[in-house]
């Protein structure tokens, strides 16, 4: 009986310490750790030197100063802890990206206290740390960037939140695992002509992306080929613009089939298909996608495109089902 009880406690403890990923978490006292920094140790050394001086010279004000600073060090434990403890983090929805791009994880950070929290550092597994200040009773959205290498689902992974405020003598930190992931589409191939429309012959290699007929400019979208980028506009600091070409395949129906790309290996095929889906959608064509194990019927529009791209992202059971 006692052993069973002990085990139950231990399990409960472990669950509290490392709860399963959730979309929102609060940094409770149990999950905030705190330890002196290198500066903190240096501070201690300086205080010891001051104490020795005070003892040697029997100098009461030097004693008083030493004790005051030592007490400030102790009090700053509470301040540093309180700067982090009770912080709320909530995962936002991630926009899908193409493999190789930066996945952007939006996170809502909320401070329910009447005191502001300053210099909170958010460190994702790899990628740039973010430093945030929070006003009293406020919520701020931050975006954490993580590189993506493979298609599939990219979870944010373990996120370290830490702070050294106010004195830098101590570092309080906590690790959270948010249930949050970014859908990573395959990297579209740089340029590939669309296959002929259904029925075999027709548009041919001209494709939707006719290289000749310049139509218009629009804002750059992930997946746009670098060749489409209007570099002169960028040089004029007008932002990233993509050149649009009027394809000649309007109205025709395209079938993209994984099985038809026999000369390439798996991932390359997916890149090619991705390119085709993007180009077809941009050209306003109707298209369908056939992968081993399933077919998406002919369609068009953003929702259809997303369906196709997700099918490509999760093809082969890559990371599929994680967190669903």
């Amino acid at each position: 009986m006692p052993r069973a009880l002990l085990r139950r406690w231990r399990e409960a403890w472990a669950r509290r310490r490392h709860p399963p990923p959730q979309t929102a978490q609060t940094l409770t006292r149990r999950r905030v750790y705190i330890l002196p920094t290198r500066t903190g140790w240096l501070f201690a050394v300086v205080l010891i030197a001051m104490l020795i001086g005070a003892i040697n010279y029997e100098n009461n004000l030097a004693y008083a100063l030493t004790f005051l600073l030592a007490s400030v060090g102790v009090v700053s434990i509470l301040h540093t802890y309180r700067n982090l403890g009770g912080l709320g983090v909530r995962a936002g929805r991630c926009r899908p990206v193409f493999a190789g791009d930066m996945a952007v994880f939006p996170i809502a950070v909320s401070n329910g206290d009447a005191q502001s929290r300053l210099a909170l550092e958010f460190i994702p597994g790899d990628g740039e740390p973010r430093v945030v200040d929070l006003a009293p009773r406020s919520t701020t959205w931050i975006e954490l960037h993580q590189p993506t290498l493979r298609r599939g689902r990219r979870p944010l992974g373990r996120l370290t939140i830490c702070t050294r405020f106010p004195l830098g003598l101590l570092r309080a930190w906590s690790q959270v695992q948010l249930r949050q992931h970014c859908v990573v589409y395959p990297r579209p191939e740089a340029e590939a002509a669309l296959p002929p429309p259904a029925g075999g012959r027709g548009v041919g290699s001209a494709g939707a992306q006719g290289a000749d007929d310049f139509a218009s400019l629009r804002g750059y979208q992930p997946g746009d080929s670098l060749r489409q980028v209007h570099w002169k506009a960028l040089a004029r600091e007008q932002g990233l613009l993509s050149k649009q070409y009027s394809g000649s395949g309007g109205g025709s129906e395209l079938y993209f089939d994984y099985a038809s790309l026999t000369a390439m290996d798996g991932e390359a095929r997916l890149s090619r298909l991705c390119r085709w889906v993007l180009d077809a959608e941009r050209a306003g064509l109707r298209y369908g996608l056939t992968l081993p194990g399933g077919t998406l019927p002919i369609g068009t529009g953003p929702a259809h495109q997303q369906q196709c791209l997700e099918a490509l992202a999760f093809f082969g059971g890559v990371d599929d089902g994680a967190g669903t």
């Binding site: 006292r29 240096l42 003892i55 010279y57 029997e58 009461n60 301040h79």
Partner: protein
């Protein structure tokens, strides 16, 4: 993964330079001028660079600066160790460091060392003003540290930074007081280094010269303060004994060298009358003297008594010192060593012919010992002698000139001339210096003795009576006191007769200031091993020693910390509705079975889900969840309802 070195904001640099300037400023007054100039130049350069931008110096200049700083300090002090040179080195190096510091680490190190520099400031000055000033310095440095640790620091938030630093410091005070009171104190320093305390001003010295162009010390600086155990003695008993001057060359009077003092026998002292007990808080003066009332009885611990009844400390008084002692005002030194008698009769050969002639007339009149004393005093009072703080300079034979020409002088002139006259009539006599009187502070209840109370009087050895104190200055009638300043003896301590309200107000203000200083000395500067022992005994921990202190310190400090922590977590928990707390407990029980409520899932929706998994538990939970929803989102529930919910929640088993 490498994190880029944290940037230091310009605001942080400005606070840092400002903080260092505040800390270094009081040291500048003590440093040699060129060192001070070097510090100011370095800080100014940095300030300009932070305001205007510009490059930091390269390694070559850095090395030059470091070596140059070391060299300059070494040339100024002849050493790099010891308190003065050490503090100068720290101040100069920190200032020079400003020129080249760049990252967060550099800045942090500078602030931590600046804290240390603050502490060294107390080696030179422990007054209230210095305490307040350096506290301000600590606030500025702490603010700089706060700004430094805020990467997004903005000038408009400066008030917030200062408040945060002040919060930290104020909240640290309780723990600081506990540490200050209970941290075990040693008596005696670790390796006995002392600081040359500020130009140790005293109204006294080991010698006096009659007739040099000199002014009497009119400094109103306090020499020491005295608390009497029971009542202040009468004014004629308030003679605080200092150096005793035996030898003279006709102009200069000096004390006996320490060697010859040791050869003299300890005199026989008759103690008549009641003893007076008191405690003296002596300001540092850099000499060995400990002042006690005539004649010393119980000495302060570790003090020495010379054969001429002066009390000396083993080490120079370089720090504020408090001692308890007692004296017998009515006691007399009865014995006179033959060597002492010889010393006390010696006059420089061939000097003071007129004085000797005057003394000769008294001898010719065959006056007795006491009559000769009376004759000399009568001479001072009946001839036209004046008392002045600024007497004219005297020529070759100052005593004769004073007695027969200028007839204007202060206590030293009268004491010296009187002793010469006595020795010329064959009576052993000596000059005693010290302080006389003092001002009673009605607020603090203590007697403040100031440098302007420095005094000189005479002692004559009368057979049958021993050494008798004679203060020839007191016989000058008040109308012949020229400078308008008071004659020390005429003043009754505690009596204030100033007519004008302004005078009274000024005096009151001075007394309040004096009482404050005395309290500071007593309770802050004077707190040490003795007082700590006394405190422990009052707490009933007799002979507990430092172990007792450490135990007490641990208990009290631990209690305070736990209290703070408890307060913190209690405040946070209380912020949560008790209903939520009770319901959370139920949820935790379910979670143990693997039934976890989603964050966005409502209580009722979750209950439905539980029912799918486990009919029986789900039904019971659903009832609870319904009650919870009703209580929490309905009108404010009664206490009884919350209590009933708590009971049910506690009884719930998954």
């Amino acid at each position: 993964m490498t994190v880029p070195a944290p940037e230091v904001t310009r605001l942080a640099w400005l606070w840092l330079v400002g903080g260092l300037a505040v800390v270094v400023a009081p040291h500048l007054l003590r440093l040699p001028p060129w060192l001070g100039l070097l510090c100011v130049a370095a800080m100014g350069w940095r300030l300009l660079r932070d305001l205007r931008g510009g490059a930091l110096p390269g390694p070559g200049l850095r090395l030059t600066l470091t070596v140059g700083g070391l060299l300059v300090v070494f040339l100024s002090y002849g050493t790099l160790v010891g308190p003065e040179a050490g503090v100068a080195l720290l101040a100069v190096m920190l200032s020079l460091k400003l020129v080249e510091m760049r990252g967060l680490r550099d800045a942090t190190v500078v602030i931590l060392l600046a804290y240390f520099l603050v502490a060294t400031g107390f080696l030179f000055d422990q007054s209230i003003a210095s305490g307040i000033y350096l506290l301000v310095a600590v606030v500025v440095l702490t603010t700089a540290l706060v700004v430094l640790n805020h990467p997004g620091a903005e000038a408009r938030l400066s008030g917030q930074y200062v408040r945060r630093a002040a919060d930290l410091l104020v909240q640290a005070v309780p723990l600081m007081v506990i540490l200050f009171v209970l941290f075990p104190r040693l008596s005696g320093s670790l390796w006995g280094v002392t600081v040359q305390e500020h130009s140790a001003r005293t109204g006294l010295s080991e010698s006096m010269s009659i007739g040099d162009v000199s002014r009497l010390s009119e400094s109103s600086e306090v020499a020491f303060r005295v608390e009497f155990m029971d009542g202040v003695p009468a004014s004629e008993d308030l003679y605080w004994r200092g150096p005793v001057l035996w030898q003279t060359d006709g102009r200069r009077w000096t004390a006996l060298p320490p060697g010859s003092l040791r050869q003299l026998d300890r005199p026989r002292v008759d103690s008549d009358g009641p003893a007076v007990g008191y405690a003296v808080t002596l300001q540092p003066h850099g000499r060995h003297w400990l002042f006690m009332l005539d004649l010393p009885d119980t000495l302060p611990p570790g003090a020495l008594l010379t054969p001429d009844m002066q009390v000396l400390a083993r080490r120079p008084v370089d720090q504020l010192r408090r001692y308890e002692a007692s004296s017998f005002p009515a006691a007399r030194i009865r014995s006179l060593d033959p060597r002492e008698r010889a010393l006390a009769l010696t006059l420089p050969p061939g000097r003071h012919p007129l004085a000797r002639e005057l003394a000769g007339t008294w001898l010719d009149a065959e006056l007795g010992e006491a009559q000769r004393v009376a004759a000399a005093l009568r001479f001072f009072s009946e001839q036209h002698f004046f008392y002045s703080h600024e007497p004219p300079a005297l020529g070759a034979d100052p005593v004769d000139e004073f007695l027969f020409q200028t007839r204007t002088g202060f206590c030293e002139h009268y004491a010296a001339a009187f002793v010469v006259l006595m020795r010329a009539t064959g009576l052993p006599a000596r000059v005693v210096t010290g302080y006389h009187g003092g001002e009673l502070n009605p607020i603090g209840g203590h007697l403040a003795v100031r440098q302007s109370d420095a005094h000189a009087w005479a002692e004559v050895f009368l057979s049958g009576q021993g050494w008798v104190r004679v203060d020839p200055t007191t016989v000058i009638p008040p109308q012949r006191v020229s400078t308008g300043t008071r004659l020390p003896v005429r003043e009754d301590p505690g009596a204030h007769k100033e007519a004008s309200w302004l005078g009274r107000a000024l005096k009151g203000a001075r007394q309040i200031l004096d009482a404050t200083n005395h309290g500071w000395n007593q309770w802050v500067l004077g707190y040490g091993a003795d007082k700590q022992r006394g405190l422990l005994e009052r707490l009933g921990l007799h002979g507990a020693g430092w172990r007792g202190l450490v135990a007490l310190l641990t208990v009290v400090a631990g209690a305070v910390l736990l209290g703070a922590l408890a307060h913190l977590s209690w405040r946070r928990r209380r912020a949560v509705d008790p209903l939520v707390r009770h319901f959370d407990r139920v949820l935790a029980r379910l979670a143990r079975r693997g039934l976890v409520k989603g964050t966005s899932e409502g209580a009722l929706a979750f209950a439905a889900r539980v029912q799918v998994t486990d009919q029986e538990v789900g039904a019971r939970f659903a009832a609870l969840a319904e009650q919870y929803t009703a209580l929490r989102y309905g009108p404010t529930p009664s206490r009884a309802a919350v209590k009933a919910f708590r009971r049910r929640a506690r009884a719930f088993r998954a």
